[in-house]
Symmetry: C2
């Protein structure tokens, strides 16, 4: 068995090498490629993906899975490797190859149609493609199978173990709490002035301060780099090369800053994964939701806290003296302005989850045939009115705003809100383990919290499932309680609510 295991690990390593190469090409395409080079790069990436697909679904892989699956005496890491390989194998192999290829072609067309539809703000252009994408997903669920709810099968790809049953419970509690809090805030006399963030800040100054914060966060620049791209992202080629990007807007100080902190949170996770997990496919985050818990923890729980800015605000003023006349309190309140809005990625910390819940409810109903693509923008607009009290003027700022559906990524959205819930659960435990947590943050010490996250979360890579991990770390299952408490406490203080 020892020899077979060695062979299996070598085989997985090959997939990892190809993944790493693919990621470099993808990073370059988003950060540095000259425009005319894009079509050929697409072909090269297409070829590499095909090779990875072949490796993941080969008879050799099948042989490994059959040999190791259910075998006793496997260590934890190997067992996880086998289960992950099996999942990947089934995910693709159960679909007839012909249908898989047709779907790949469709998705490319759907993405182009979505782009056109969004630019023209016309849902009708996208509708027939979306219909086909939805139909394909329903058909695939038929091949993959499901237990209770069809949508569970899709959710499981992004957040293993999560189900409609669980999400219905936590999201409904969360929704009620947020709407209630929102209604109180609307009546508050506190009126934050967020215009202080839009008066014009050169890219150079923004970059300098962003680098300062990332260094304090202990993002390792010898194992990463910061570049610019249209949409910010984090990408890892190995634990020693984890790169982040941000996007500078001269008239918006918050965008690049919180973008960098957010991506920095993702990147710390990847940089902290131990060498021993490299090349095993477990050298990555547990799930999308847990990954978002790390980025959102840094962006919101830390990055939008009073303690954080007690240290960083004087530093910020050194780079941006225009803030000299604004008090820390006003700065802090302005940064946390709650304002129900139409666009998810521009939403504040409180209302953000409502954007996600709307998408979750729509996806769930769509996949289960309870609503039709035809009615999607009507449903969308109605839910925005109900939950957020705002209504889109057009499809571009409504149902067409996100790219996810054009790529067939149903089941992805909930990860963002799960990140909020996990993050608040971790915070609860952190406050027990590090009683002077906020005092240390006030001193600019981001080292203790980094060590805690590394020791309790990052160092395991993807060995565990999300539900195993949250239980290991906090002793509890996923629940919405702590995030609601966190929101109520923070925003009651800011908005002076009784």
């Amino acid at each position: 068995m020892k020899e077979k295991l060695l062979e299996f690990k070598e085989y997985i390593k090959k997939i990892e090498y190809m993944n790493s190469a693919t990621s470099v090409l993808y990073w370059d395409m988003r950060v540095g490629i000259p425009s005319k080079g894009i079509p050929y790069r697409g072909e090269v990436l297409g070829h590499l993906s095909g090779e990875i697909y072949k490796l993941q679904t080969s008879d050799t892989m099948k042989g490994f899975i059959e040999y190791f699956d259910g075998l006793e005496n496997l260590d934890e890491t190997t067992e996880s490797m086998v289960q992950r390989a099996k999942k990947n194998y089934n995910q693709t192999k159960k679909i007839p190859e012909k249908r898989y290829v047709e779907y790949t072609v469709l998705v490319t067309k759907a993405e182009a149609a979505w782009e056109e539809a969004k630019s023209k703000s016309d849902f009708n252009i996208f509708k027939p493609f979306l219909q086909e994408v939805v139909d394909f997903n329903k058909e695939f669920i038929g091949y993959w199978g499901y237990k209770t709810n069809k949508y569970d099968t899709l959710l499981d790809f992004y957040e293993p173990g999560i189900t409609v049953e669980k999400l219905d419970k936590v999201f409904s509690g969360l929704r009620v709490a947020i709407v209630e809090l929102l209604n109180k805030i609307k009546k508050s006399d506190v009126k934050p002035d967020s215009s202080i963030f839009t008066t014009g800040f050169s890219k150079e100054r923004q970059e300098a301060f962003g680098l300062f914060v990332l260094n304090k966060m202990e993002y390792d620049f010898e194992a990463g780099r910061l570049d610019e791209s249209v949409h910010p992202f984090t990408i890892e080629f190995c634990n020693m090369d984890v790169r982040i990007t941000t996007n500078y807007h001269e008239n918006d100080l918050k965008s690049a800053l919180f973008g960098s902190i957010h991506e920095g949170g993702h990147a710390l996770y990847e940089q902290d994964i131990p060498d021993s997990l490299q090349g095993t496919r477990l050298g990555q985050g547990v799930s999308m939701g847990i990954h978002e818990s790390q980025s959102r923890f840094y962006e919101n729980i830390l990055g939008r806290s009073k303690a954080f800015w007690t240290y960083f605000y004087p530093e910020l003023k050194k780079t941006f003296p225009e803030f000299n006349s604004i008090s820390l309190d006003d700065f802090y309140i302005s940064m946390n302005e709650v304002l129900p809005s139409l666009i998810r990625i521009e939403a504040d910390e409180l209302t953000y989850s409502l954007h996600i819940i709307i998408r979750y409810e729509i996806e769930k109903a769509l996949i289960n045939g309870e609503i039709e693509v035809e009615d999607l923008h009507k449903v969308w607009n109605a839910k925005y009115k109900e939950y957020l009290g705002v209504e889109p003027n057009n499809d571009a700022e409504g149902v067409l705003q996100d790219t996810h559906w054009s790529g067939g990524s149903f089941g992805y959205f909930p990860s963002y809100a799960l990140g909020n819930l996990y993050g608040a659960q971790f915070l609860e435990k952190i406050l027990k383990d590090i009683p002077d947590f906020y005092q240390e943050i006030e001193k600019g010490n981001l080292s203790d919290i980094h060590s805690w996250l590394k020791e309790n979360i990052h160092k395991y890579g993807a060995i565990h499932t999300p539900s195993e991990l949250i239980r290991m770390v906090t002793g509890e299952d996923l629940n919405e309680k702590y995030f609601i408490e966190y929101l109520n406490k923070k925003y009651s203080e800011i908005y002076n609510l009784k």
Copy 2:
């Protein structure tokens, strides 16, 4: 046959995709990688190289070669593709796999040993490794076979068709002519002042002017980009993505400037290759020598000409007003200062070829067993004294200065000098085809010459052999006559020789 041909072309395309991916990873490693990411990147590149090796030497490839080789009715491109694939196949397949792997391992060690030896300036550290590398190359020549001279087999990898017999002839003529001219220059009263290039120039200004020149050269920035790296290089991922790098030194204006022009010359070649040759392995330059002819044409024949600076000097002064007090004549003469020196890559246009001829003579003798590794630095120093009148004070500025031998690249050096010879032969033809060539350059028109090079050289990619190409373009075989005439004319004027 049609179907088989399609299969063959698809197969070659796969190799090309892998090559393109490898090049992106390599570029990133030299331009942007964080230091800790290098070891894993080495592993990924090792894997990809292995995959390319497998594709090039597979039974499938063997089948294609056996089927197509010698087949009549193949079009020119397909015939070239087959011959190139065959050459690659034989090159690797004739060596016992075990020996090939051992050689790969040795070369890695030899490169590390060379680095250490150079930093300590001690040839003895490198000697045992070099001995093994030489022995391996001799052994490999045994597998590959040779006709007249063992060294021919190695030369052929870089400059197909070139032989010791041909090189002995052209290089001896060249050497005599250069030494003669050099002796006259030594007695000249003209004393160029090259200190004007070392007074301190910020990177930003150098970059701005470099970009201006590259744009005038018609380097397409939508199909390329300019970055910084320790050693300048050109790399292509496809004809639509050809990137160059340069290296700025604040106390040396010439280094980055002529480096950029040189790499720009390489890059124009690659950017001009037609789409129809993409994915065929013929979408590249003919040979190292022809490639160098393009880069050196731009760097020296154009870039160090009076006509070029008649247009560009006023532009240069806009960016570098410190030159306002220096006349065009003085500037031109200073730029073309002839000064026999120890280091190849710092040599002037005239003496450069002598550095190459020394290396050529040593390699030839080494491979044919006429001198021993043991005596290499003595031979080196003696030749430098004889040809250039200078003697190294230590091995670092002597026999250890270049990396080529540590990587086993015997036969590569002559390409550089061949580039000079080809370039001058092309110039002779250009002056017939474009009688007002220099007048147009004086006006800053680099478009006509670019079109000529594209039409006569670039557009063919690697369809032809170097000897076919030089004959097609100029009607003559390779010879040293035109380069000697060019040197005599140019330097007689500059140094006021009779």
